[in-house]
Amino acid sequence: MNINRENYETFFLLYLDRELDPADMQVVERFLNENSDLQKEFAILQQTVLMPAEMVYEHKETLFRREEKRRVIPFYRMRIAAAVAALILGGWFITTRVIKNQAEISSVNNPDKGSINSKVQTAESSKTESAKVDEVLNSSPAVNATGTEKNSIPAAKKTPAANKNDLNQNPRDVQTAVISQHDLSEDGRQGIGNELSGHDGQNPAVNMSDENMTAVQKNSNGLELQTKESGKGSDPQQIAAAPGNQAPPLLIASVNTKDTHQESVLSEQDFQSDNAVSVIALNEKNKAITGFFKKLTKRTPAVENARTVRVSVFQFSY
């Protein structure tokens, strides 16, 4: 730094503005000491420097700020909420539909409280040669299904009360009721395939014997055999084969189309042969029974000499 009497004013101002490093400041101070006539001018320039003045801005609280708390709802929460709402609505819809279907099923199939009825209409009886109904009541469904016809024939001749007694002896066993066994003419067989589940008495599906109609009904005390007698030959016969509020029954039916009653013993081979049809269905909705009978009649062999159709309904409680 080269300070002299020509340029000292600038260095004085730089000195007062604190823009010089310490070494240069010492140079200026030394220059002042060496040039005492310039000290008065330096003092006047020194007076141009403003002294700090304390000033207070009142009401600083008006300047303070606080960030607004903004509530941010993440979008995934909305998605979760939408999913939950959809699940609730879907569950409600399915539940209502199921309840509605169950109500309809129970109203159709349970005109009587707590029972499942398998309705078999029989009408045509004029052309049947001689309807014979065998009741086969045994404690073992397997035995019934595989053809212990000979053992069941005497039971068929029992009175319903006797059958009922037999059932009550083994209330927990599987009960079997032979709905009907009768000879069919060719016309009769044609009718079977159409309206087994119908109510129209003018177009009966199966010509059931009006002598004995048995059904197995399970009440709270056990299984009970009921016999319904038909009022008229043309009226549909009903079989109540329902366990009431108990577990849905397992129904097994078999059809035999042997010529004679004695030959209509169901053998194990007959179940899958042309002469016999057996269908096993779980009767939860009762629709299975209807489908079962339709299938049964469709598979009834159109054999010329087929004269008898045996329909056996086995009710299993489990």
Binding site: L13, D17, E19, Q47, M51, M55, V56, L63, R66
Partner: protein, 161 residues
């Protein structure tokens, strides 16, 4: 800058900014309005302002806000200056501080602002250049010229006395 840092700026710099503006405008309410506007702008732009530079940012806003305000009321301001100048000559100056304040009134707003930023806030030439938008040389020259004006004014008053 966070909310806490902003409020810290209010605590630390509100008085300084207010002094800087009030010394220039010499009008208390206008100075408060300028200060309030400056802090309001800094609050809005707090996400772009670093806390370490908050003081310079605040003075920059306040300075330009003050210049705009001065330009709006320039005619009225000049009338007040004239009255003050007349008054100076009418009465004796016994207080060097008051003489200096009156001398400051003779500076233009740029010169006065530079003197205040230098003397009150202790900013360097470069920092003043950033605040005012001038370059370092302009700040140096302007500030030296302002000092010489003040000096002449003080010398003249002494001569009168």
């Amino acid at each position: 800058m966070t909310e806490r840092e902003y409020n810290q700026c209010v605590t630390e710099y509100a008085d300084n900014v207010y002094r800087f503006i009030l010394k220039n405008l010499r009008h208390e309410e206008d100075a408060k309005d300028v200060v309030q506007t400056a802090f309001e702008k800094m609050w809005r732009n707090r996400n772009e302002v670093e806390y370490e530079k908050s003081k310079s940012y605040l003075f920059t806003i306040a300075y330009h806000q003050m210049i705009d305000h001065i330009r709006k009321v320039k005619r009225i301001y000049l009338k007040e200056e004239f009255k003050e100048e007349t008054r100076v000559h009418d009465r004796p100056m016994h207080n060097a501080k008051k003489v200096l304040e009156e001398a400051l009134a003779r500076l233009n707003e740029t010169q006065r602002s530079l003197v205040m930023l230098k003397d009150y806030e202790g900013y360097s030439y470069e920092e003043i250049a950033e605040i005012t938008g001038l370059n370092g040389t302009q700040v140096k020259v302007t500030l030296h010229r302002a000092r010489l004006i003040l000096k002449e004014w003080l010398v003249s008053v002494e001569n009168v006395l």
